[in-house]
Point group: C2
């Protein structure tokens, strides 16, 4: 098969280490014999408009700087390709002699790689297509975990350690809203910095369980009555039995002005807004008299904070990018995954699975990671997640 050019793009919400995957890819690709190494600006959008940048001649210093920078160095995009997009894309690839497609992203990106692969096959154009995983949501199938999650989890764990100390200092009820529409992985990470039962967060609400406001209020009040304070972690995606977001149903039931805004796709906007935190704050304030209630929505800091990256996550992110190139020499297509090794100390190998196995679907937290009796996580989750963060030092010498 002719070698041809390689193209890489980044897609979806950025992470703190997504550029590490790009660096890993570039380093391996420059050692390889691709005719050219192209980066597409803003993922699919740049590929369709042939907006490419040459990645062949970056200096070590440039690669180092890029690897230290969060968010997508090539720009990102939120775009699911239509049939005609794929047709156009393959024809551009053919015209440019691009025979190696790499896409860094979540399950939608795996699906895009799959569509590119099938599209090329259908017109008899010989090309390779690989998906490189990333997402702070940690919700991809097949892989043990997703590059990007470890750093986001580290940020969240550290943020809760500090915020819990703050809550001890001035008391009251503190609600922190975390990213995660469908899965509670990042919200669960709020527990990783706890040293004792009395440390916050005391309650953890994830989308894997149905959210009931009455139970929430009862549980918050119980902790508050017992400790004189309460720190709560809430996923932005909490929902009712029908799967409707709390913010949506609460707003329509109450006509509350705090209702969530809809984005351009008509989806309720959960991130980049404090609406859920403020709504919960108002409800708790009405329910528990005279208590100081505050909410913070951690927002984009979770995925972009550059000063507290997990070294384990950074290393793995680079490795999956590198491995995509290695795999492309041996097979036609695939999604790179991380496989945890059975040993005393934590380690992961890289491997490749079929694109279809990763495309489209998402992975919730398994039942064994969630406490059955209360809104909280289990030790099994702790053991799973802690190594990914690079380790969270226990804290706090506090007298109150």
């Amino acid at each position: 098969m002719p070698q041809g050019k390689a193209v890489i793009g980044q897609s979806g919400g950025p992470t703190a280490v997504i550029n590490k995957s790009l660096v890993g890819f570039i380093k391996e690709a420059t050692k390889s014999d691709f005719d050219e190494i192209l980066g597409a600006r803003h993922g699919l959008a740049g590929m369709l408009s042939e907006d490419f940048v040459d990645l062949s001649n970056l200096s070590e210093a440039q690669l180092y700087g890029m690897g230290k920078t969060p968010a997508a160095a090539l720009g990102s995009v939120r775009k699911k390709p239509t049939d005609s997009d794929i047709e156009q894309l393959v024809s551009i690839f053919e015209k440019q002699n691009i025979r190696n497609f790499f896409y860094i992203g979540g399950n939608d990106s795996a699906e895009t790689a799959n569509l590119v692969s099938e599209g090329a096959k259908s017109i008899g154009y010989d090309m390779k297509a690989f998906h490189i995983p990333k997402t702070i949501d940690n919700d991809l199938l097949e892989t043990d975990h997703c590059p990007g999650y470890g750093s986001a989890a580290r940020f969240v764990a550290h943020a809760f350690q500090g915020d819990d100390a703050d809550n001890r200092s001035l008391k009251g009820i503190k609600i922190n809203v975390l990213m995660g529409r469908h899965a509670g992985w990042l919200t669960a990470a709020s527990t990783l910095g706890k040293s004792t039962e009395e440390d916050g967060p005391h309650l953890v609400y994830v989308p894997e369980k149905v959210f009931k406001i009455d139970e929430f209020l009862k549980e918050v009040k119980e902790v508050y009555d017992s400790l004189g304070r309460c720190v709560v972690a809430v996923s932005e995606g909490i929902h009712n039995e029908e799967g409707e977001y709390f913010l949506q149903t609460y707003a329509s039931e109450t006509g509350s002005g705090l209702a969530g805004k809809k984005d351009s796709h008509g989806n309720i906007q959960l991130s980049g807004s404090g609406a859920l935190g403020d709504t919960l704050t108002n409800i708790v304030s009405e329910h528990i008299d005279g208590v100081r209630v505050r909410a913070d929505t951690f927002g984009y800091l979770q995925r972009s904070f550059l000063a507290d990256v997990s070294e384990v996550d950074a290393e793995e992110a680079e490795r999956v990018g590198q491995h995509a190139v290695v795999a492309s020499k041996e097979m036609q297509s695939g999604s790179v995954i991380l496989k945890r090794q059975l040993s005393e100390t934590y380690s992961c190998d890289v491997d490749v699975v079929e694109l279809k196995k990763v495309a489209k679907h998402t992975k919730d937290m398994p039942q064994e990671f969630l406490d059955e009796s209360k809104p909280y996580v289990t030790n099994e989750f702790f053991e799973y997640a802690m190594p990914l963060t690079g380790g969270i030092e226990p804290k706090t010498q506090i007298f109150v």
Copy 2:
């Protein structure tokens, strides 16, 4: 004068390094000849209820752990003492033979120390009273800057570096709301991680200037039209010419449901809520068609994030705590300040001024730190603030 016991308390909003001041105090106090070293839980509240903890026998490991922990290890309080509180306090001090009062906090704490000093004098009780400065708001008079600010500024600068990279990746308008009711010091720190003109934040709105929504919209649109994106830093305390908070006036003028909540003192609640960010987001969305607009409110993370502390700030915080004890051997009362030295490399000495000079009032950013022609800061601000953060490495190897 009889030596007697010493008591220390912490007051107001915690910081990432307020416990460093406590550690500095304890280390010096244990070398001293106080009869006993007491910590008051929750500041004035604990002193009035005689809720003390013995600080004389902490191990090096305990002091180290405490110094690494953000927020008030003794607990904090928001309380301005009444005349009868002061009377009661002095009588407790007399009963317990407490002759050395130390209070870590902002301008209210300096005032409390002053009232304690005067109250003791008025009944002829011989005691010392010292204020140890802290506040992320950086708004105390006399001192070059306030312990706590450097770390908060570092967090904010790093957060904007990451968030700016994120905004480059997915474009749109991003509004970040920062702490600061009366002064824009922390909001101004958002600029400290910028490498080029094109980096965000592009616009910085501080309470030192009157906020006009029409000008804001015009300025945001100009940047967006020119760069295809815009990152904005906004102080929570932006206000109109009458000094009324924007959130307050906008809500009453428009009847908007996003109006800020009032706290137990009837003040509009600015922190622990996303109301200002969401309100501005809605206004910008209505004004500029089809653009992606998001807001984050950095909230308590600014003052409590333990994984990104300024070493300079931490060292100075410890030094002001220590110096309060040293000063108490030489004079009757005072507020510890930091004095910047004139030299090539940054350094600060410690000194003491009269409590009255620090009490009650706050310090806005001086005119020379604010750009006259646009909502932005000057190089003079940069030179002032950068050393306090411990240094912010320039970033970003980005292609879009």
